[in-house]
């Protein structure tokens, strides 16, 4: 039995993960682009003492197909930049971790690193990010700077085929994370000296060029932003196949995986461990938190959540499925499942509410108290940064003492 604390995250996306969620009772579809909508959701997540919330994002509109745009008008289309949204919410919350998704294929590694460092300063140590590659070739035309692989309908049948085709983008993404990590360390914690005797604000011996040179780009550094409060903000990634497992093993502090049952969780965790072995990462030294993703639709009355999903499916015109298990049931049933899967060795779960705010509120007000009743969840936030809450060690600065 796992006696380390259970971690819970919630993944926020539009009106919820079901494509017809915006038409549910209680939804606020007209408010999706207002700050108040997001402030209410994150306040609710914080009321439930969740570890962190993630924010989906992409450099192109949402689409029913993962690999190409569509012209549908009956689903949520449109989004706000997730880093700026997370930063806006930082001053409206005090404890919860804020983890925006950030495209790393079409963006500048330097800007990305500085943005996340800033989010960490603004939130005083609650920042994370989810680097994401561009899996939709059409998004490349929004930038006109390069092309990226076009996935085929055949590829979509197997995550391994997708990963194989996108492998170069994952390798580049690992370079982006490496650059970010070096830039965060490029200021030592005591670089600011304010020494009036010598007239120096900085001690330049404690600022470092990072001199990264890779196959896709080079970055000289140092950062323009002092080292963030966490030293290294949390890097999280979503993974369904060997290449992204390897990316997580190289680059991430948290990996979101998508098993469909407990045996699947065991198998996935074994693959993640093998990936760590392959890249030479010692998980005792540099722990990797493993969260399973689940889409959740929750109602107290047995059967009600499944019926609600059927109604939403009817509105959407198709049965909703996802890359993760779509769970319908009562909060108690979900608690049973989570505690069962956890025995496979998972550190926590990232729950994707089917409809907002309904399924978020069900998590915070029904699931969390149920887990707590079973002695499986915290009853107060501790102090400390997001890293500390996740049991990730305080990272040593790679440049400290180099002069």
């Amino acid at each position: 039995m796992n006696d380390s604390p259970l971690h819970l995250a919630v993944a926020l996306d539009g009106a919820g993960w079901h494509p017809a969620a915006w038409r549910s009772e209680g939804a606020r579809p007209g408010a999706l682009f207002t700050p108040g909508y997001w402030a209410d959701l994150v306040a609710e997540a914080e009321r439930g003492l969740l570890d962190l919330v993630t924010f989906e994002d992409a450099l192109g509109p949402q689409s029913a197909a993962p690999h190409r745009p569509d012209d549908r008008t009956d689903q949520v289309r449109g989004s706000l930049d997730a880093v700026l949204l997370a930063s806006h919410l930082a001053l409206l919350t005090t404890r919860i971790g804020l983890v925006p998704t950030v495209n790393v294929t079409h963006t500048e590694p330097f800007h990305v690193a500085v943005g996340i460092a800033t989010l960490d300063h603004v939130s005083e140590g609650r920042a994370g990010w989810r680097p994401q590659i561009a899996s939709r070739a059409a998004d490349a035309a929004h930038f006109g700077r390069r092309t990226t692989p076009q996935l085929t309908d055949d590829d979509l049948r197997d995550p391994e085929l997708i990963a194989a085709r996108l492998r170069p983008l994952f390798a580049e993404a690992a370079d982006v994370v490496e650059v970010a990590r070096r830039l965060w360390d490029s200021w030592e914690d005591d670089a600011e000296i304010r020494d009036t005797a010598t007239g120096r604000f900085l001690d330049r011996d404690k600022l470092h060029h990072i001199d990264f040179e890779g196959a896709w780009f080079s970055v000289r550094g140092p950062s323009i932003t002092p080292r963030p409060p966490q030293g290294q903000p949390v890097v999280a990634s979503l993974a369904h196949a060997s290449t992204p497992y390897e990316f997580a093993a190289r680059a991430s502090d948290v990996v979101f995986v998508t098993p469909f049952d407990r045996a699947g969780a065991t198998a996935v965790l074994a693959q993640v461990a093998e990936a760590a072995d392959r890249v030479g990462r010692d998980l005792r030294d540099r722990p990797l938190r493993r969260f399973a993703d689940l889409v959740v639709l929750l109602d107290d009355e047995p059967g009600a959540a499944a019926r609600r999903k059927e109604r939403l499916d009817a509105l959407a015109g198709a049965e909703y499925t996802s890359d993760a298990l779509v769970f319908t049931g009562t909060p108690g049933e979900l608690a049973d499942l989570l505690l069962d899967w956890r025995t496979a060795g998972l550190d926590g779960f990232r729950l994707r509410p089917g409809a907002l705010p309904h399924d978020l509120t069900a998590v915070t007000r029904r699931l969390v108290p149920e887990l707590r009743r079973r002695g499986a969840y915290r009853s107060a936030y501790g102090t400390g940064t997001l890293r500390e809450r996740l049991g990730l060690p305080t990272p040593r600065n790679r440049y400290a003492g180099q002069g």
Partner: protein, 459 residues
Amino acid sequence: MPKQIHLAAQLPGIHNVTVWSDPRSGSQIAIGSFVHLARTAERGKFDFFFLAEGLRLREHKGRVYELDVAGRPDNLTMLSALAAATTRLGVAATVNATFNEPYEVARRLATLDHLSGGRAGWNVVTSFDAFTGENFRRGGFLAEADRYSRAAEFLATARELWDSWHGADVPADPVSGRFVRPGAGAFTHHGGHFDIAGRFTTPRSPQGHPVVIQAGESDAGRDFAASDAEVVFSKYNRLEEARAFYRDVKGRLARYGRSPDDLRIMPTATVVVADTDAEAAAYADEITRAQVSPQTAIAHLEAVWGRDLSAYDPDGPLPDIDPEPESLVLKGHSVFRTGRAETARRWRALAHERGLSIRELVIEVHGGQTFVGSPHTVADAVDHFVQTDGADGFVFATHLTPGGLDDFVDRVVPLLQEKGVHRPDYTGTTLRDHLGLRRPPDTGRTSRTASAQWEGSAS
């Protein structure tokens, strides 16, 4: 009716404006510093709070420059947070048109406009130097001569992206099942700098377009301001030169079918307030001396001379040796990039004529503080400057972070309000409202294709 004064504040992130040696000087990066300054500006009913951008730390003789404050946030990320700590204050940022792409910048600015309820502003600048480029994918790819054509096309493209969503494109009607109107966000731009097409992600923001700000004193810069900007930052904060600049730029607007009221000119300025004029003058001298420490005096001299002068005594005379005009010892500092031989000649002549030491000379050319005096003196000077068309208002940079604006807001702003030249309270909610600027027409989706204008400009 007198002109209304437009006020803005910035937290200076580099340069020697900030007197970090003052015991009251706080953190340059802590969120508390930014919140304090922004809320002070909002208490003073300022139009907006402004943050410049950082792309690379300055370097001096090949090492990071140590003497000035440094270490600043990504400005749009910080301003998104500050939008939650304020309710009316505009939030404006410099975002570079060289080391960014229009799709992402337009998206981030539209997001800031949504998050702030229509308070976003964008200072469009360009860089071209290889030094800055070393931090970015493309390196120093842009020729200096192409700066304004890239900036102009970048801005035009951003506007096309903002216009790709009509205000009514999100019916979000659960009954009919229509969330979005067909074609929302569709755009095509074929130009010399940008050749892009697809769908923009972000629905039309409260202001339609964030307020566009520009800074540039060159002829091309002034034309760009007159054709495209809604606010101009300038360095001209001495009345006569400011009037000349004001007249010139406002005079160019008609060529672009715009009226003088479509553009606000706001020089950067500093202010020192004390009980009496004499006390303020003494305090201003003290600030200027702190801003130009002995080490800073030598470093500025080295920047102009292009050589190591560390052996010289800052309290002694200027060096006899000549500058090396080709050598750049201070990188990332735009002031010392060009015209250094001429600057050195001027500095020598001035020092000779007035018998100034190195440090005295640098203090002299530094220029001191813009507005100095008792609250009444400062209020009168600020008002006079604006009423006589030296400016429409000012962007104040404070020498103390974060409390440097407190005196001005508590002691001068009430006097400006009494004079009827500064709002007693906000009358609108958006930055456009504060600045008295028109909202761009919501023309719907009018993506331009194959714009010959852009193709021509970059050849």
